[in-house]
């Protein structure tokens, strides 16, 4: 028997890019799939960021309940140290652990936070921060790596993370590097597709979930060549060539989707989803520089690394502001360039400049008021659309690990954590950044055909997958089963079963990931920069 449910993840995919590609014949197979099934926009969680969003998709829970807020994890709620985030940091059941408990088998390929690999019945190849040299350790069951290594064209360096490739992309502004970066992602998607196809042919499990992350990577680096709204700016021969190469990527992706959809067969329920959408960012808000100007943040040597320094001084300076803050003078700071989160420092022995419990509420209110008043000096527009207090967007046992404040910028962008004379600056080119609305398209025996439904939440996906697997839907999930996606008669033929979720969190058999050294932290910063997160 083939797979019952196939989940294909396209990191960062958005209909504003895919619709024109489908119409123009670049992605004809995806167009057929979307048109013959049910489609919707898919609203991500806050923050609309890869690790927490995919974790919400695979658990059906918000970050306060699953515990993943960013690319890193604070060592403890009030600590400035960050830890390597592992599968042990997911504080609840995932689709595959639930399937495993119910006696179903799963294949899970390239999802973040799957290392150490969950010992489920089926297959796992870890994604996210899995370095290629240790990919063998990220494969489950034992022997899987050797099977994959025997596939023609198998190359662990391209399948998993290779810092030397990422470092190349760091200097990614060089024109000659673009081609290679795009080609690498074409090869990378082919590698994952080959692995998925091999396992689906040889031993199809009940659930197959495979994640392709090239869409996000290309959109971060090449947004101005990909966004249809910016096409008028693609004028030089080089720019046109890069745009064509990006289209080649999407053509390849279309072929891969077609193959996986074919292998899944007509009996499978297939869901194509993304973790967030994409859009343009037109300016940079240097949030730590702003905090410094307001007297809420101090660097040890009095000055942070600046934008231009990062080219000259390298990553050592770029990363240092994360751990070389002057705790005599720092009340608030943004530690990472990814989640738009501000952490308020609480006063104690090590942080004499921090905010006391008595001051906290008033300080937080003042900061919110001052943040929403920040203006773009050129246009006069507000820069910060909204500031969320932690408890307004998060709930659950991991609430304390969340940033105290999370910003939503008016241009939808991400803050910069570097130093700068001007706290707001226009960008020379619009760059690609995450947006809340991603994609959802589903086809199969249980789904409606040829319809568009209003936006769904990423939290609706887990109950939908569980239901389609024939499993009960746990009562503690944060999203509902999206009935509007189901074909008439499906509910009568397959009534929904609900199950009480006995425990809110899962006791871990696996210890938490190690605290990061300064150097490892720097490598993380490098990688984030390669991914387009540090300007």
């Amino acid at each position: 028997m083939g797979a019952r449910v196939v989940v294909i993840g396209l990191d960062g995919a958005t209909f504003s890019v895919l619709d024109p590609l489908m119409q123009a014949g670049v992605m004809p197979r995806l167009r057929d799939f979307v048109e013959s099934g049910v489609r919707a926009e898919l609203k991500s969680i806050v923050p609309a960021l890869t690790p927490p969003a995919w974790t919400s998709l695979m658990t059906g829970r918000t970050p306060g309940r699953h515990g993943v807020f960013d690319f890193f994890r604070k060592d403890s709620p009030r600590s400035q140290h960050i830890r390597f985030q592992t599968s042990a940091d997911i504080g609840c059941e995932t689709l595959w652990t639930l399937a495993d408990r119910a006696g179903l088998r799963s294949t899970v390929l390239n999802f973040p936070l799957t290392f150490p690999v969950p010992r489920i019945d089926g297959y796992v190849v870890a994604g996210g921060w899995m370095p290629w040299r240790q990919l063998r350790l990220g494969c489950h069951p034992p022997g899987l790596y050797d099977r994959l290594a025997a596939l023609s064209g198998f190359n662990p360096r391209e399948l998993a993370m290779d810092m030397t490739h990422e470092e190349k992309a760091l200097e990614g502004c060089k024109q000659e590097e673009y081609d290679g970066w795009i080609d690498l992602h074409i090869r990378r998607e082919r590698q994952w597709a080959r692995v998925a196809a091999h396992l689906m042919c040889k031993d199809a499990t009940d659930l197959v979930a495979v994640l392709f992350d090239g869409v996000d990577k290309l959109q971060h680096l090449c947004w101005r060549f990909i966004d249809p709204a910016l096409e008028h700016g693609v004028t030089s021969d080089w720019e046109r060539a890069i745009r064509d190469r990006c289209l080649d990527y999407f053509r390849e992706l279309d072929a891969i989707l077609a193959e996986l959809i074919f292998l899944a067969g007509d009996e499978a329920n297939i869901v194509v989803v993304s973790d967030h959408g994409f859009g343009s960012q037109i300016r940079t808000f240097f949030v730590n520089a702003w905090l410094e100007q307001r007297g809420y943040l101090g660097w040890v040597d009095g000055c942070a690394s600046h934008v231009n320094d990062s080219q000259v001084l390298g990553m050592a300076r770029l990363a240092k502001h994360v751990y070389e803050l002057d705790w005599q003078r720092t009340k608030a700071y943004a530690p990472m360039p990814s989640g738009n989160g501000i952490h308020i420092v609480r006063a104690d022995q090590d942080h004499p400049g921090g905010v006391t419990d008595a001051e906290y509420e008033a300080f937080r209110e003042r900061l919110i008021g001052e943040l929403v008043a920040v203006e773009d000096p050129v246009s006069g527009d507000r820069v910060v659309a909204r500031v969320w207090k932690r408890e307004e967007i998060f709930d659950g046992p991991y609430l304390e690990l969340a940033p105290d404040l999370t910003l939503e910028l008016t241009d939808g962008g991400l803050v910069s954590i570097l130093g700068s004379e001007a706290v707001v600056q226009p960008r020379p080119h619009a760059t690609g950044t995450h947006r809340p609305y991603g994609i959802f398209a589903a086809r199969g025996p249980r789904f409606r055909r040829g319809v568009r439904v209003p936006a769904l939440s990423i939290l609706n996906v887990a109950p939908l997958v569980l239901y389609s697997l024939g499993l009960p839907v746990p009562s503690g999930l944060d999203g509902e089963l999206p009935f509007e996606t189901l074909r008439e008669g499906t509910l009568l033929a397959h009534p929904v079963r609900y199950a009480d979720q006995a425990e809110e969190t899962v006791p871990h058999s696996v210890p938490a990931g190690p605290e990061l050294s300064a150097e490892a932290e720097m490598e993380i910063m490098k990688r984030l920069r390669a991914l387009g997160y540090v300007e």
């Binding site: 390597f84 370095p131 040299r133 240790q134 350790l137 696996v510 605290e515 150097e519």
Partner: protein, 97 residues
């Protein structure tokens, strides 16, 4: 039962041998093999290896201290034998409930 230093070293060498064969590395893995300069590890590789070792021995280990220690050395490197020693020190301590 607490594993012996030799058992830990043997397991670590075996693990690294398997990994190294995936990179077509000609060198043999001995207790003296250096992780950074000879195996080409980066800090994140050690973090990932550390995560795997913690899982295997079901124990959290203070890798931050180990990193700090390496950072102070003249030659910033770590041998397979030293890593085994570090693991031994921490699996030898009885698990906290």
């Amino acid at each position: 039962m607490t594993p012996t230093r030799d058992a830990i070293l043997e397991h670590l060498q075996q693990m690294l041998r398997e990994l190294a064969s995936d990179w077509d590395l000609g060198e043999a893995i001995t207790p003296d093999t250096l992780l950074f300069s000879q195996l080409g590890f980066q800090s994140l590789d050690i973090v990932v290896l550390g995560t795997a070792l913690q899982e295997r021995y079901e124990r959290e280990m203070p890798f931050a201290e180990l990193f700090a220690n390496i950072g102070q050395r003249q030659v910033r490197d770590l041998s397979v034998g030293e890593l085994a020693e570090f693991v031994k020190e921490h699996v030898g301590v009885s698990a906290t409930p």
